[in-house]
Symmetry: D2
Subunit: 334 residues, 4 copies
């Protein structure tokens, strides 16, 4: 038997995500006091935070900026060799920017932009988080104490990015990063790709690309944080409500991904998800699940449809007019 | 920069597990009516079952036998090339048995035994489950309908095997199968390895080796099935209690793995776990978490200690005398 | 100190509720196979059902009829003396109908209609449910086995009725039955009573009267069944979705009552709620919580507003034209 | 028909409970920072606390003392007239002490001791809690904000008291206070009453009397606080474990009461329960559920038996020798 091609498995996981915010103080309050993350470092106009279960020192970097949105998105390679392979594959696409020394707790990183313009980087070396005494857990396999403060999210789960050209961006992360496509939404008899959910591992997705119906560039749909149980998502809704934070949708269950979601806007304007459930994709010959207009419906498995804003609002926000001239299919068929 | 060695990532997941039972009818009742699995095939004195979320046609094979225990344990490779590599690595250990044609819905498989004598196989080709009409889910990404019958376990999670020589078996699956060691229990100042939790992927573990304190061979500690939420494990306890099934331990939370467990004995005598929680190990440079006597305690994070039987009972059961002459450290230091 | 007036505490709880259905077979499937209730008796074109935790032999009577809606609503008195007092109080209102022999498992009952025309009765004598062997629970304090079939609702919780004149009906059950008002919705600067939530005990409510915006008579808004945890309500949504049953709203949380709700339509057309949470009202000097237009919002504590149908659909359904001439304030101010 | 006797329904609910502690500062930390209660008043060597859902201003009074244990237990009457009736009934037993002016936020109260010596009082007038701005909830029907701090218990649920003579104390609260007996444990062929669970309302129990196997007097078995879901009890266990607090038993489920329990010792030594589940007793002709040795087993519905300490430890703790000469049946038959 001749050996067939092996799947690329060079990226381990989504690393640090940088969110931009025009209201750094209020955004810090949201992530720290409401979601219960820990601030581990402050430098210049940026703060670095982590969930109690994040392995790396920092999973979220908040940076003051004129507009909300996503800054640099980092991906950790499984080995130095894997990092080299990815850098070569990225460079071959002509989208590489070059090496930087590495942000807080990370080693040298190779920066690039996806076709839609989102800034990304790949790296391998990373400093592990060592909890100070007051944050040490009584569980030896937990990098940090469960502090029982607010929602107390466990860790980063995934990012959803908007793109004018979903297939181009989807193909880029498949080819340059080796991600696998687990689900997609394709309209107009299989000709119009509206959304793609991809992952470097058996996690359902660590990045999603969804059509930017306003024709913007480099925008963020949402940043998602994990809690262990659906009950924790319900509790998160109670906490957001008590804190007067706008809940856009949920808690409810998506049909694609099966994820149990709760979307709110952090004070800086970015959409943040508290997330649980979903499923692992272990089958090596998984065929991407493809949803058409009718099957996709409104993106929910139960209950009320997602609101219009879920399809039109992203950060930074732009006027609908920006899409002038572009032929934009309606994401929600209803 | 010269590329360093890549991690082996050739095995995708635990495939079908065969359990032997001296009471096939009663065991079938337990897995079908109490745990809510679906029988998809019957052949000879074996029945094939699946959870609603298992990707493969069958995750569990129940076979009539004089004694309870575990039969063949299969592991699916990520590609045909990966399968070839694993076969060569296994053969090189001298533990290979040879190729068979493949059991229900699986292609050709290469059989072998681990050092403790458990029968295993690796394979790649597998027939996907296609639900008949009455079992088709309204969720397109779910291979089978959630039937709401009994516990309604979602899928296989992992296996725990006993071994007289934990390090030998742990090293074998690391080297021959490429598994990663995520946690271990080591007593006597780091010299006596008592337990090892390993995985082919970012799942916390798909196999555990734990010291056989009776000095047996090829024995099963437990077979574990996944439910999505801790609330589902509590509900499982209610259902087991209503059905008069012996609950040995739980629902409670382990310290190692952080898993939320519930152990019962199926009527054939095998220990079965209903399981949720735990955590994903995404860090490529994860250092195995090692627990000593004091840290390990009784293996629970909260509440009451695991009962004595949890340390001494396995299938097939053997008298303690079988261990005559063997120096067996006590697993539970209390 | 001179003794002040005591509160009336003559009614113990909501007894059997009769639902009318034009599709008895399909309604039976819904309550039996999907919600997991048990059929305990069949007589003529009626079937009697119960949840595993209902104390009385039967909590729900399903009766074939041309139109869906609510039939007779029964209330159990705390003692024979209390029954006599309530009969006298009801008779004094001129709304009494008279004594009947008693339906399945209930003793003599005094029938009457509330001002909106809903048929009700009060009774004291009731035969306790004695589980046959196959339904006996392993819990001695559970009247029936938890069968783990479908949603497996525990017991009746409450009824919501529509009324053209909310204050008249609210005052009737306060005076004639001794119910306490726990919450209400009052619009137009406290002059327009839109909804009232009342109870004979410390349960938050066992009956609600809500304005019939179509000006109908004797109509049902919903019948509500209890499950123990919010997780059970989420699981119910999964089960309803797998069974292709229309989910109108939820799972989500009301602001008034704090209840965690899930509304679906049973095949006969009646709205049925799977319900958990809420709170007990133990304070004897509880002041009814009153919500105005702004505070009430759309009746939800989190997330998406209740759909328009929640405000306009009831059983039997009637055309909006029925309200011709009536000045009907909009229930939902948005 | 001649009216039969009505049930007494004069007591509304368990009011403030006073716990004595030799480590006031540490006990305050436990109730405030770990359980998430709010301190609303401090006077002398006492602090007054409340859960976010408690209606009264204060539900728990912590008082510095040489020994842990329970101080004064208050019961609120449903009306001034009901208060008078209870005072007369108590006085008639010869166990009355007399009126006091009323503790923090309560009006005049009549004090007495139960036959075992526990100090109690009945009262009617009580100041309602009015939340200061920073504690005001966004839910109009919630007396105080859900602060998402620690376990965040909702409200007081019940008390369990030890007694040398269970039937005498059980009969006293039935006759003097009008409580109903919902469940009991009776050993030795129905002759030896070991435990009794009683309530003034449809709540399963607000007080339990359990045999003091050491023959002490006026001792406390545990004080119980409510959370809404079983998931909240599991989360409480995680939080107690992270805070290094001794968990004696649970989370698990009792057979009697069906309650989902978690017992820990607050730093002062008193046993505190975080509790959910159980069931409401609405039937007016409820026959107390009686458990004998075999049925009762070890008091758990699932899993591991309650530890020995659960049967022998209470506050204040006393040596077993105190029972010299007394014939004390073993509570746990195993």
């Amino acid at each position: 038997m001749s050996a067939q091609a092996d799947p690329v498995q060079d990226i381990a996981h989504l690393g640090n995500v940088e969110l931009l915010t025009p209201k750094l103080d209020r955004s810090l309050w949201y992530f720290k006091d409401v979601l219960g993350m820990e601030v581990v470092h402050v430098a210049g106009s940026s703060a670095y935070l982590r969930g109690y279960g994040d392995h790396a020192a920092s999973a979220l970097k908040l940076t003051a900026a004129a507009q909300p949105g996503v800054g640099c998105i980092s991906w950790r390679a499984v080995s130095p060799a894997a990092l080299e392979r990815r850098v070569q594959a990225i460079a071959a696409t002509g989208r590489g920017i070059g090496w930087i020394d590495g942000d807080f707790c990370r080693g040298r990183s190779y920066r690039f932009r996806d076709p839609d313009g989102h800034l990304m980087e790949v790296y391998y070396d990373e400093q592990k988080f060592v909890a100070p005494d007051h944050l040490r857990s009584t569980l030896k396999n937990l990098p940090m104490r469960y502090t029982a403060k607010g929602v107390n999210v466990r860790r980063t789960d995934h990012l959803a990015l908007l793109a004018r050209d979903v297939p181009a961006n989807r193909a880029f992360v498949q080819q340059a990063l080796g991600f696998r496509l687990h689900e997609q939404v394709v309209f107009e008899r299989g000709t119009k790709e509206i959304g793609a959910w991809l992952s470097p591992s058996i996690m359902h997705h660590q990045v999603a690309y969804v059509l930017d119906v306003k024709g913007g560039s480099g925008r963020l749909h949402h940043f998602s944080l994990w809690v262990d149980d659906r009950a924790d998502v319900l509790r998160a809704a109670d906490i957001l409500a008590e804190n007067g934070i706008f809940i856009e949708a949920g808690p409810s269950r998506h049909n694609n991904s099966q994820g149990f979601y709760l979307y709110s806007y952090e004070p800086g304007g970015n959409r943040v998800e508290v997330y649980s459930g979903s499923y692992l994709v272990t089958a090596p010959d998984w065929e991407p699940v493809t949803w058409n207009e009718e099957e996709r419906g409104t993106g929910v498995y139960w209950g009320t449809a997602l609101p219009e804003s879920f399809l039109t609002y992203a950060t930074p926000d732009i006027p609908a007019a920006a899409a002038a001239g572009a032929r934009v299919p309606v994401f929600d068929p209803s």
